[in-house]
């Protein structure tokens, strides 16, 4: 029996709920093609970092200005000027255009801005370059001891509002799990114009090198245990907000996808497992997921989508207290 595994995300019709999330694999045309071939229903390109663009521009400028006039024999500096430096968004937009030309699946551009003008300007250029949707990557480490959570949150809301007004394509917002009131924040983001939410961003977390006593920026690939966080919040949000939900983090197997769909995800996003096992792993996950639904005689993905959300589950409070209750029970039963 065939299961209809199509889904809808940000208003886009997708052939299945597997989306290849931002990673080096989505930054090159050959791996993008491999992802499509493996069955990815959509791809999210790596993030365009406004901060990186500024940093790169300034680094190039510094490089050429430093030493440009320290010796009459090195008139004009030491490194020859190049025709161009690809410091702006051009390189990214070129990738976006080529991805659109070469792929049949939707291509979602990802943006991590810095300045209000930067967010809206880059989003607009992405739309013009043919992006099917834009995913805003809005996380900041709030180190300012004078900034309140409310102020920070309002900043995010304003940002989404501005971007929403500047583009006409669907807009997703990839958020951090670290809000005092995640559910409320999600509602406000949707009200501000987000067509969907991506749960959640995983960030570079610094480590310490004990030999050198230095801070080492590092990213650890996700493991299936990371699934729990988006699983919980997908289940909680499904039915509470009117927006697409994408789950990201810890999606490694077909069963992981199934769990998220049952919790209410419209799509699931994969990164770590694909980096670990290669683009073809996506086909395996897809097969596992489809088999699970087929074996249980679901007719479509939609049938099961959200069937274990907090609103639909038999024990809705489990999503609020799951770990605590279980461990308590385990403890009592052992002794």
């Amino acid at each position: 029996m065939t299961v209809d595994i199509t889904t809808k995300y940000l208003g886009l019709d997708l052939s299945n709920p597997l989306v290849a999330s931002s990673s080096p694999l989505t930054g090159k045309l050959n791996t993008l093609a491999q992802l499509e071939e493996a069955g990815a229903a959509a791809v999210v390109l790596p993030s365009l970092f406004e901060e990186q663009i500024e940093h790169d521009s300034w680094a190039v400028h510094d490089l050429y200005e430093y030493g440009s006039a320290i010796s009459p024999e090195a008139f004009g500096g030491y490194i020859p000027e190049m025709e161009g430096y690809n410091t702006g968004p051009d390189h990214y937009l070129e990738l976006l255009e080529k991805a659109k030309d070469n792929l049949t699946i939707p291509v979602i551009a990802s943006l991590n801005g810095m300045s209000p003008g930067g967010w809206t300007a880059y989003a607009k250029t992405m739309e013009e370059a043919g992006a099917d949707a834009i995913e805003l990557n809005v996380y900041r480490v709030a180190t300012d001891v004078n900034m309140t959570g409310g102020e920070l949150e309002q900043g995010y809301i304003d940002l989404v509002t501005d971007v929403r007004e500047s583009i006409n394509i669907p807009l997703a917002v990839k958020i951090s799990p670290y809000f005092s009131s995640t559910a409320s924040m999600c509602r406000r983001l949707v009200e501000a114009g987000a067509d969907g939410l991506v749960l959640f961003n995983r960030f570079y977390q610094p480590d310490i090198n004990l030999d050198e006593l230095k801070i080492k920026p590092d990213i650890v690939l996700s493991s299936p245990v990371n699934l729990r966080l988006p699983l919980r919040w997908t289940a909680i949000l499904r039915g509470r907000i009117e927006a697409s939900l994408a789950a990201s983090s810890g999606v490694h197997t077909g069963e992981d996808v199934v769990k998220l769909v049952l919790a209410g995800s419209d799509v699931t996003m994969m990164t770590s497992a694909l980096l670990k096992y290669g683009p073809s792993h996506l086909a395996t996950v897809l097969f596992e997921m489809e088999s699970w639904f087929a074996e249980r005689e679901y007719t479509s993905l939609e049938q099961g989508k959200g069937s274990l959300s907090q609103a639909s589950a038999a024990d809705p409070e489990a999503f609020e207290r799951t770990n605590y209750m279980r461990s308590l029970v385990t403890y009592s039963s052992r002794y």
Partner: protein
Amino acid sequence: MTAQNIMVDGNEAATRIAHSVSEVIAIYPITPASPMGELADAWSQAGQKNIWGVVPDVSEMQSEGGAAGAIHGALQAGALCTTFTASQGLLLMIPNMYKIAGELTPTVIHVAARTLATHALSIFGDHSDVMSARQTGFALLSSASVQEAQDMAMVSHSATLRARIPFLHYFDGFRTSHEISKIAAIDEATIRTMIDDDLVAEHRLRALNPNAPKLRGTAQNPDVFFQAREAANVYYDAVPGIVQAEMDKLAELTGRQYNLFDYHGAPDAERVIVLMGSGVGAATEAVDRMVAAGEKVGMVTVHLYRPFSIEHFIDAIPTTAKSVAVLDRTKEPGATGEPLYLDAVAAFAENGGGPRIIGGRFGLSSKEFDPAMAMTVLDELAKDEPKNHFTVGITDDVTHLSLPVTREWKGSDDVVQAVFFGLGADGTVGANKNSVKIIGENTDMYSQAHFVYDSKKSGAMTVSHLRFGPDKINSTYEIQEADFVACHQFNFMDKVDVLNVAAAGGTFLLNSPYGPDEVWDHLTANAQQAIIDKKLNFYVVDAVAVARAAGLGGRVNTVLQTCFFALANVLPHDEAIAAIKNGIKKAYGKRGQVVIDRNNAAVDASLAALEQVTVPDAVTSATKLLEPVPADAPDFVQRVTGMIAAGKGNLLPVSAMPVDGTFPTATTQFEKRSIAQEIPIWDPEICIDCARCALVCPHAAIRLKVYDPAAVADAPDTFQSKPWKGRDFAGMNTTIQVAPEDCTGCMVCVNVCPAKSKEQVKHKAINMEPKMDHLEVEKENYDFFLSIPEWDRTQTKPETVKGSQVLKPLFEYSGACAGCGETPYVKLMSQMFGDRIIIANATGCSSIYGGNLPSTPYAVDDNGRGPSWSNSLFEDNAEFGFGMRLAVDQQSEMARNLLTGMAADVGGLAGEILDADQSSEEGIAKQRDRVSELKRTLATMSTPEAERLDTITDYLVRMGVWIMGGDGWAYDIGFGGLDHVLASNRDVNILVLDTEVYSNTGGQASKSTPRAAVAKFASGGKATAKKDLGMIAMSYGNVYVAQVSMGANMTQVAKAFAEAEAHDGPSIIIALSPCIAHGIDMSTMMAHQKEAADSGYWPLYRFNPSEEAEGRPAMKLDSRAPKMSFRDFAKSEGRFAMLARANPTHYEELMDQAQDDIDNRWHLYEQMIHVERTAEFEDEEVDE
């Protein structure tokens, strides 16, 4: 048709033409001609085509000799060719120039004329190089301005095709080559018209071609050579007519008429000067002023110097002329006169006589030549007995040949003259380049910029001279009375008399941290007096604050540029702002929007911060300009070094100068430049006595001493001392001390310090702190530190890091770049062996920071011993050092022979000296004692042998020869000689300071440049692998070879130096030397070196032939197997990263190949550590 006006310098003006009419261009870097090669390479890389629609093939060669050879070959095979050079480079081309001319081959060599090295090297301009090529058979065509550099380039290329005589087109180095000026561009249509394609076809028909075989380059004999040499006469006879015709053709097309000899001045002139080159501009102003005053004077500008057309020359001189002075920008010692003068004399003589004629020299090495000097020469011509063979522009108090300049000169009131004092690193020069372009391109005004640099690479001061005016600017000399003076660095005000150049009533703009109400109290009395006396309009702006707020860091150029435009009134305010922003966009646009935005923000904020100072009526300051050298410095330093350091070298008379170029060493200690903002301060509580900071310091400005604790009994209270921790100097105390006024603030020491505070990891055993908070205290501490007795050389192990660093550096406070990667090696060498070595130094960075005036960094120990140093040339350094070895050995041999013969008289001491073991510091010390005793003995003897031996006893003590230079020398231009010296088996030590580019000339690719790196002459990324010089040296088997990297393994470096010195034969050390041209933060250069080794890019090894004698493989790898990819190493260096940005696809290809290079080389080296070169054979059994 109106020609488009462009703002270019002379190099670009000439290259525009050369690139557009050439097919093959061979290049090699040499100042000041390098930019021509760089432009040609960059344009071809960018696909810019010549007038026939083909991109010229630009190839860098290993030397100028190679470039000339390549051109010669390409010409023989039918291509249209050009090359660019100067100075010694032109000398290396001469053999081929004879050939090219002898074969009547059309080509053009463009020369930015530069001084030839004689008693000293000079990078600046005169005609000594060109005059050395005047006999080659090339036609010589001179340009006097930037406009002419373009126009005569055009005439050269068109005339050479018609005449078949090759041309040397030249203009004055730095004055014209680097002067930015507004010129009328020759467009492509004009070039097409000037170049006759039929002549091109004829050139091709003369090419070697197997379909029409011919032979050129025969050997001829006495019977016919002479006649054959005369056979080309008709071609030379035709040249003047051809050149004039081409000039006339250009005039028709452009309206600019030139002649072989251009006369300018009164039609009935009685006094005429003759000259060529950039001095023409100053002379023109002088003649115009004198003619306007009714004087009957004139001048002749020489364009076509060879073939010298007597007819045209005579025609150019007014018949009314009674006396003529010919000015040569060259010197030919011993000649009856300089060449242009002799040509003029001969011309008049052949013409049956003429006016009285005198000759003189001017402008050697870019010495200023201004209108007052030209007037002085014209005045001299009015005398009854004018001085012949005079000089002008200097004071000759020895042979009294100089003409005292009695005239005064003030420029035209129509011309705005502005002088800017800045730092090399603050963007002043860049901003001024933009400013002249803004004015030149946005207004009808003419503009001109000329830049002057000081001789240091760290903390260098730049002086920009800008002129703007409604008429063409002929002023080819520095501004003497500036309407506008800007000082972009406040601390210059204590050291430099910036207001000396200010005109009365002018404007003075000072970048000041102090506002208009405070600044006066922070000026010296000298500055206050000048501001009052000259009634200057005085403005301040805190450009640093404005720049910082706009996100520009310490780069103050945009702020000060905006203030200049506001004060100079050359453009209406709104137009000026718009033009500056447009200039910013043009200059920085491709780097990114943020660069434009931040600079624009600085423009918008600048004027609000600009404030006028109300100047008090009286001087209130008690401080004076700092003296350049201390009052207790030696006499020579006071009289000469100090004057040069103070920027007053022009005032020194001939008698002040050494006659043979010999200068005292150890004089940098007197030139306290105090350029660092922050200096390293020691925390003895944390220090672990590793000595790394002292080892890596490029300027010997952080030092280590160990000493008896009693030595610091009388130390200043603030002097820090601690017990030494290790066993090597047990019981001693130690101090790490900064030389606060010699430190450049490069931070290499702090970055390499491994000792970190347990409470706060960022706090190390040395930490950068604001200099002004510590200056006075640390000055006193450093003086005391220097007074602590030096450690006994015999009581340490110099081959170790700590053991070497307790020894006094005999190379200190050089003018090298802050964070230089070369100088730590040089300093280490000086510590380990400096008391007993002679150094042969190839031309390059190391010869500049080693020998550029005013002061010399090679120092002396407490016994007065230290390195004795010389620089010959770029290409011959290995041979130069080899000669030193021969001389030392010969004198040593002679001394030993004499001593052997005198053994009976000298006694047992003779045998002790002759048999002495000098393989250790102790052995050398004992030998010195013996030789001292011998000298005392010799003093009692009166035989001729004793007297002879007394003059050469120094050679009985072991004396080392170190041959030192960069990769441009060792891998390229000097490789042939280096190879030969390696093969010689003589005891020389070669140190290659491998920066992987021609650093001194601005970063051109050498054969050491790694694949995928961007460098000048390889702007598309170097496509070939780095040459393995070490492997070539190893192939001889008897050469000690080490590849070292201080940042990767300091111990290995010290060991390699010791082994190289100990090796009785040739040795070569190839030392990775990070350079500003790598595009790295130089403060982290040691970390880059470590990554170079970790990635296998720079494997460390030692190849010691003496190991083989012990039955072990000679090769020892001192690196572990690569543990990071080349990509990971390369991404942190701008030289690679720029290619990744500009051309990612090509970058990836080259990166893959570069990784293969590394893998393959590592694979080879790994095998070599097991290789035994010497085959062992059993004696064959022989049947009885």
